[in-house]
C-alpha cells in the first residue's frame, strides 16, 4: 500500500480484519468500517481539543498510554489463535488502541512536526522531518519480516519490547526538549528560546512586552536558573 507512512492506521486495519476473521466474524468489511469510523471520530475529538490540550500532554502523555496498551496487546496475543475470549479482548484493545492513537500521537504528532521550528527554517525542517519519517517507515517495513518470520528470528510478540523501548526513548527525549507551543505566538517562542528557558518549562513563563516573565514565585528557581545560564 502506498501510504506506508501511515503505518498505525494501515496495520491497525489489516490486523483487525485478520482477528475479525479469527473470532468468526462473517463480515469483516462492516466491522472494519465501524472501526475506521471510530478512529475518524477520535481524531475529530482531538482536533476539537487542540486548543485546550497542551501539546506536551497530547504527545508525551498519549504516547505513554499507548506504550502500556501495546504491552497489554502483546501479552494478550500470546494466548493463541484458538482462544476466542482472548481474541475478542485483543480486538477490543486493538480498536481502542487505534482510537487512542489517532486521538493523541496521530493528531498532535503532526502539529509538533509543523510548529516547533522557527519561521525562517520551517520549510527545511518540515522537509527533513518527512524524509526521516519516510526512511524510517521503509526501514521498518523491510526489517520487520526478518524479525517475525518463523524461519528467521521468529520473535513473535517479543518484538513489541523493541518498539516500546524505542518509543520510551522518544518520549523521554520529547519530555526534555519539546516546547509547549500551544497558543503561543512565534515571536514569543523565539523570545523564550533566546532567554534560555528550558523547553519543558515554557508553560511557566509568559512574554510581556518582549520580556520573559515567570508566572509565580517558586523557591529555588533562581539558583536553578542561574546554574543553567
Amino acid at each position: 500500500m502506498i501510504a506506508n507512512y501511515q503505518q498505525g492506521g494501515y496495520f491497525a486495519n489489516t490486523y483487525q480484519t485478520y482477528y475479525f476473521e479469527l473470532i468468526g466474524q462473517k463480515d469483516p468489511f462492516a466491522l472494519t468500517a465501524v472501526s475506521s469510523t471510530l478512529q475518524l471520530l477520535a481524531n475529530f475529538v482531538a482536533l476539537l481539543l487542540a486548543d485546550v490540550v497542551p501539546r506536551r500532554k497530547g504527545v508525551i502523555g498519549g504516547g505513554t498510554i499507548l506504550m502500556f496498551w501495546s504491552v497489554i496487546i502483546a501479552g494478550t496475543s500470546m494466548a493463541g489463535t484458538s482462544n476466542v475470549a482472548a481474541n475478542t479482548a485483543l480486538l477490543a484493545f486493538m480498536i481502542t488502541w487505534s482510537m487512542l492513537y489517532t486521538g493523541t500521537v496521530g493528531c498532535y504528532g503532526w502539529a509538533v512536526a509543523q510548529e516547533t521550528a522557527s519561521q525562517a527554517t520551517r520549510p527545511k525542517t518540515i522537509s527533513f522531518t518527512l524524509i526521516c519519517q519516510q526512511l524510517t517507515a521503509l526501514m521498518l517495513s523491510s526489517v520487520f519480516p526478518y524479525f517475525i518470520n518463523p524461519d528467521q528470528l521468529n520473535w513473535g510478540g517479543k518484538i513489541m519490547f523493541l518498539f516500546v523501548g524505542a518509543e520510551l526513548f522518544i518520549m523521554t527525549a520529547l519530555w526534555f526538549f519539546q516546547p509547549e507551543t500551544k497558543n503561543r505566538s512565534y515571536a514569543d517562542i523565539e523570545v523564550l528560546y533566546a532567554a534560555g528557558v528550558p523547553p519543558r518549562q515554557f508553560k511557566n513563563f509568559a512574554v510581556v512586552d518582549g520580556q520573559v516573565v515567570e508566572k509565580e514565585h517558586k523557591d529555588g528557581f533562581l539558583s536553578r536558573f542561574s546554574r543553567k545560564a
Partner: protein
Amino acid sequence: MDSNATKNSVEAVEMSSVDKTPIVHLETSSMDSQLKEEVRQTTDLTAKEQYRKLWTAIKADKRFVWWTLYVMLLVFSWGYDAGLSGVAIAFPEFREYYGNYFAEGKQWVIPALWQSLWNAASTIGQVFGGYAAGQFADVTGRKPLLYLAVALSLASSFALVFAPNLPVLFVSKLLLGLSVGLSTAIPPLYVTENAPAHLRSTASSLTNIIIVFGFFASSMTGFGASKIHGEWSFRLAFIMTFAMPTLFLIGMPFFPESPIWFMKKGREADARKAIIKLFGADTDVDERIEILRTELKQAEAEENGKSQTSWKAIFTKENRTRTFVSVLGLQSQNFSGVLQLRL
C-alpha cells in the same frame, strides 16, 4: 502599560550572558495586576475562555480559515488518491487484467516483484518529493510547488487509467509518490507559517484528520466500485483520482502566495497584497507585516549574516533541538505501532 509601575513591581535578573534577553522575576505579592492578568492570559486560561478566544479568532479571520481548508484539500486529495490506487490494485478484475501474462493456473496474481517495485517507487517518490519541497520552497515560493504537485498527481492518474502494462504503472506510482511528498509538506507548511497564534493550534492539528478522511473516502468509493463487474470496476476507481486534483486546480489562480515567503525575499509590497488576499481587506496589514518581521528576526539575521534558509541552518546550535523535536514528533507515530505485528 505604565512603565514606571512595571519597573517598580518587577525585578530584572542579571543574566551571565549578555546576548540573552533578561528574565524578569516576579514577586507575586507586588505584581502589577495588569501584568498579572497578561501573564495569566498566555499561561493559564480556562477551557471556556480558550474556546471563546478561538471562536473570536475564527470569526475575525474567516477568510484565512477558508483558504486553510482549501489548501488542505490537496492533503485530502493525496489520501484519497493513494488509498484508491491501493484499493483498485486489490480488485480481482485488475489482477486479471494485468497479472495474466505471469499467472499460473487459475489464479491471477500480480508478480511479487512488481508489487515490491511499486512500494519502492512510491517511497522513493515520497522521499524525493519531500526533499524537493524543502529545497525549493524558499526559492520558487509555495505556489509553484503546489502546481507541480497537482500536475504530477494528474499525470500519474493518466498513467493509471491508460496504463498498457506493469512498467507504466511503476512510473505512475513514482509520479504519485513525488506528488504525495510535495503535498504532505507544502500545505501544512503554508497553514502553520501563516496561521495567527490563536488559530494555529487548531489549524496545525488538521493534517492527520484530513489524511484519514481521504483514506476513509477512498475506501467508501472503492467499496462502491467493487460492486461493478468487469474492467470498469478498477478503471472507475482510477478515474476518481482525477476528481480531487482537478477541483483543487480551479482554485489555484486565486490562491495567494505565502506572505512570509515574500518577506523572506524582501518583497514587502507583494507581501502586503498577499496578506490582503489571505486575510481580507479589513485586516491590519501593517501589524501583520510587523509580526512577520519579528518572527523572521530579519534585523538580527542581517547583522550576523548567517543564512537562515540553508540546510545547514536547521542543524545550528539554536535550531538543532527544535529540528530534533520535530523529527521525533512524527517518529513517535512510527514506533507506537503495536499493530504492525502479525502475531
